[in-house]
Amino acid sequence: MTTATATAAPAGLHAGAPRRGLVSKIVDRLGSGVIQVVMVLLGLFWLVPTIGLFVVSLRTVDVNNAEGWWTVFTKPAELTIKNYSDLLASGFTSSFWNTVAITVPTTILVIGIAAMAAYAFAWMEFRGRDTLFLIVVGLLIVPIQIALIPIAKMYGDMGIFGSIPGVVLFHTAFGLPFAIFLLRNFFVGIPASLLEAARMDGAPEWKIFVSVVFPLGKPAIASLGIFQFLWVWNDMLIALVFANTDSQPMTKALQSQMRQFGSNVDILSSGAFLSLIVPLILFFAFQRYFVQGMMAGSVK
C-alpha cells in the first residue's frame, strides 16, 4: 500500500481539484452513456443463452430444427409444453427423485460430520491438531479423479457399486475438507466466554456442541448447506461413475441422450431446464448465504 501511494504522489503537483469545464462534463455524460450501453449488451450476453434454452424447451423438435428460437417473438403460437409432458411421461421423474435422494442426505451428512470436526479443531486441545488441520487445507483441492478407480474397485468388492448410498458417501467425503475449513474458521470466532461458561457449568461437550456451537454457527452452516446442495445437485462425474440406470440423477440421465443432440433436443432442453430450476430458486432465495460461502471458501 505504501509503495502505491508513493508512486502516485508525483502526480500531485497542482494543489486543489482542477475545475471541471463544460467539455469535460459532456465527455463524462457521454462516457456514462457508453458504459450504460456496454453494460446492457453484456447483461444480454449473459442472459440470452439461458433464455434460448428456455424457448427451445417450449418448442417441438421440428420447429427447433427449422428455425432459431428468436423467431418466437413473431410466432408465439408455436410454443407448447409437449416436451415437458413427454419428458415426465418418459420416466425422467425417477431421475429427478434420485437427484433429491442423493443431494439431501449428502448435505445433511456433510453439515453434521464437518461441524463436529470443525468444533474439535476450533475448541479442543489435542496433539497434532494443527498438522491435521493443515492436511484438511491441503485436501481442499484434491481432484475427484484420484478416487474414481480405487473407490469403484472398493464398491465392487463391497457390492454397493451403483447404489445411492455409495454415491452419497463419495460426495460426503469429498465435501468434507471445504466444509470443515469453512466451519472451523467460523467457530473459532465464537466468543470464548460463552463456551467457558458452559464448560464451567460442567456441560458435556456434545451438549455444548448441540446447544451453543451449532445455533451460533447458523450463518456459516446456511452458507455451507446451500453450497453443498448445489454442488451435489449439479454433479455429473461422480454420478457417471458410481450410479447405474436405477440410481442415476438427472445429469447422468440427460448425458446419455447427448449422442443424438439434434433429434433429442426436446428431451435435453426441457430436462436441462428442469434440472436448473431448483438451483435457480435456491440461488435467488439464499443468494446472500451463497455469496458468503463463496467468499469464505476461497482461501484468503
Binding site: 502516485a8 449473459w46 491441503g138 478407480i149 468434507l176 467457558e196 449439479n234 435456491l282 443468494q287 458468503q292
Partner: protein, 461 residues
C-alpha cells in the same frame, strides 16, 4: 434481494478476532483452556466420522492410485513408469496436454480480467445489483445444463445457433460483398459474356464509352439482397462502366440480354478490369447493379466477375469443429465463472479505503492513474485468489468439454480430466493408465495445494 450482492457482511469473523478464540496456535492459547477443555478422547470422538470418511475415500485412494499407476491395464503386470511414459509420448495424449495448457493460460486471464472490468463498471451504474445477479446466475446452474445451453448457442446453422446468427448479421451489415451461389451468366450466341473458371468474363474486350452488360440468371430468391433496386443501363459518363443484373423479368416478358423494366440489379458484386491476364482495376456494383472503374488508363479490357461472387454467403464459424472447439468451450467456461470473479473482486473494491482514492484525485491524478497505481495494487490479493481458483478449475475442467464437444471432435477437445474418465470408465477400461492420469492431475494441482497450506500457516502464525 437488493444489496445482497453488493459486498455481503463477512460470514467468517476476521482473522484478528481468531486469536481471542485461542485456536490459532499454542502461543496464544489461554492456559485456562487446557484446564477446561475436554479430554483428547472426546476430541477423537468428534473427529472420528470425518477422519474415517477422509481416510477411506480421499487419502487411501491417493496411495492406491500411486501404486495402481505402476501396473498395466489388467493390473497383473508391473510396468514401472510405463503409463507415465505413455502420457508424454502418445500423440492423442499430447493433444490432450496441449489443450490443458491452452486452458490454463487463456481461461484464468480472461475470467479475472472480465471480472475486474465488470466489478469496476458496476460501480458506475444504478442497476448494479440486477447486473450482478444476471452475470452471477450461471454459477448456480449445473455444468451439464450450461453445456446443453452452449450446444444450442454454437449450432452451426445461422438460423438456429445464436452465435452464428449474430456473426452473420454483423458481417452482412458491414461487408458489401454479397454471395450469389448457383448464379451463372446468361450464355449463348446473343450474350456478350461467358462462364470461365467459376466466374464470368466478357467475350470481347470493352472500352470506355461502351457500356458493359453482364446478364446473370439463376439467382435464388433467398440470396437476392433486400437492397437490390431496378437495374439501370449505364449511359454516358467517363471511364469503363456497365451493369450486372438479374436478367429475368418477373411475370414474363422482357428480352434476354437487355435491361428491361422490372429486372433488378445485383448489388455487391466485385467486378475486375483485366488486361493481359493482370487485374488493372476493381469496382463494386451499386444497388442498381451499375459499376464504373475510376482512374483506369484508356484502353480495352476484359471485364470479369471473379469466382468469389458466386460462393455461398458468409455463414459464421464452425464453433464445434476441430479447430475452434477449445476456444468455444473456454467461452462457455468464462460465461460460468465471470460472475464468481466479479463478485469477489467487487467485494475487494468495496473494501478499498475511499480516502486513498480521493487523496490521489485531489492531487490531480487521472482516473486511469488512480486505477493503475492505487486500485490494482490494493486489489492484488483478491485478484490472485481469483486467478489461482480459476487455474485449479481449468485443470479439473470435465463436464463442459464432455457435453459441448460432439463425440466426433472430442479427441481434438480432450483435456486430462476427461481423458482420465474415458481411459478408465468411458470404454477404455485401462485402470493403470487411468490411475497414472489421476496422479498426473494431482501433481498439477500440488503447487496450489502447497501454496494454500503456506498461506494458511502464515495467516494463522
Amino acid at each position: 434481494m437488493t444489496e445482497r450482492l453488493d459486498g455481503p457482511a463477512p460470514a467468517v469473523p476476521r482473522e484478528e478476532e481468531t486469536s481471542r478464540g485461542g485456536a490459532s496456535g499454542p502461543a496464544d492459547t489461554p492456559s485456562t483452556k487446557l484446564r477446561l477443555g475436554p479430554s483428547p478422547a472426546v476430541a477423537i470422538a468428534f473427529l472420528l466420522p470425518a477422519a474415517l470418511l477422509l481416510g477411506v475415500w480421499v487419502v487411501y485412494p491417493i496411495v492406491y492410485s500411486l501404486f495402481r499407476s505402476l501396473f498395466d491395464a489388467s493390473g497383473s503386470g508391473f510396468v514401472g513408469l510405463g503409463n507415465y511414459a505413455t502420457i508424454f509420448t502418445d500423440g492423442s495424449m499430447l493433444t490432450t496436454i496441449r489443450n490443458n495448457l491452452i486452458w490454463v493460460v487463456v481461461a484464468p486471464i480472461v475470467v479475472t480480467t472480465l471480472g475486474l472490468i465488470f466489478a469496476v463498471l458496476t460501480e458506475r451504474i444504478r442497476w448494479a445489483t440486477a447486473f450482478k445477479l444476471i452475470v452471477f446466475m450461471p454459477m448456480a446452474v449445473s455444468l451439464m445444463a450450461a453445456g446443453v445451453i452452449f450446444r444450442l448457442v454454437y449450432d452451426e446453422a445461422p438460423d438456429r445457433g445464436v452465435a452464428n446468427a449474430i456473426l452473420t448479421t454483423v458481417h452482412d451489415t458491414f461487408s458489401s460483398s454479397q454471395g450469389y451461389p448457383e448464379a451463372r451468366p446468361r450464355e449463348g450466341a446473343q450474350s456478350a459474356v461467358a462462364a470461365q473458371d467459376g466466374g464470368v468474363v466478357t467475350k470481347q474486350p470493352a472500352q470506355a464509352g461502351q457500356p458493359v452488360l453482364i446478364p446473370i440468371v439463376g439467382v435464388k430468391p433467398a440470396t437476392m439482397p433486400g437492397n437490390a433496386r431496378p437495374a439501370k443501363a449505364v449511359t454516358g459518363g467517363g471511364g469503363l462502366a456497365g451493369t450486372v443484373w438479374f436478367d429475368f423479368t418477373p411475370g414474363g416478358g422482357g428480352a434476354p440480354n437487355q435491361v428491361d423494366s422490372g429486372e433488378k440489379g445485383l448489388p455487391g458484386m466485385t467486378v475486375e478490369a483485366v488486361k493481359d491476364g493482370k487485374v488493372a482495376g476493381t469496382a463494386t456494383t451499386a444497388e442498381d447493379g451499375s459499376f464504373r472503374f475510376e482512374g483506369l488508363p484508356a484502353g480495352s479490357y476484359v471485364v470479369r466477375l471473379p469466382q468469389d461472387n458466386f460462393k455461398a454467403a458468409y455463414n459464421g464459424l464452425t464453433w464445434l469443429g476441430p479447430t475452434l472447439i477449445t476456444p468455444a468451450i473456454i467461452g462457455a467456461f468464462v460465461w460460468v465463472w465471470a460472475g464468481f470473479a466479479m463478485v469477489l473482486i467487487a467485494a475487494g473494491l468495496a473494501a478499498i479505503p475511499r480516502d486513498a482514492l480521493e487523496a490521489a484525485r485531489i492531487d490531480g491524478a487521472t482516473e486511469w492513474q488512480v486505477f493503475r497505481r492505487i486500485t490494482i495494487p490494493l486489489l492484488s490479493p483478491v485478484l490472485l485468489v481469483v486467478f489461482v481458483t480459476m487455474i485449479i478449475n481449468t485443470l479439473k475442467v470435465f463436464d463442459l468439454v464432455f457435453i459441448i464437444a460432439p463425440s466426433s471432435v472430442q479427441p481434438q477437445a480432450n483435456v486430462v480430466a476427461l481423458e482420465m474418465w474415458r481411459v478408465a470408465f468411458g470404454g477404455g477400461n485401462n485402470q493403470g493408465l487411468g490411475s497414472a492420469l489421476a496422479i498426473f492431475l494431482l501433481i498439477l494441482v500440488l503447487p496450489f495445494m502447497i501454496m494454500n497450506i503456506r498461506r494458511f500457516r502464515r495467516e494463522n502464525a
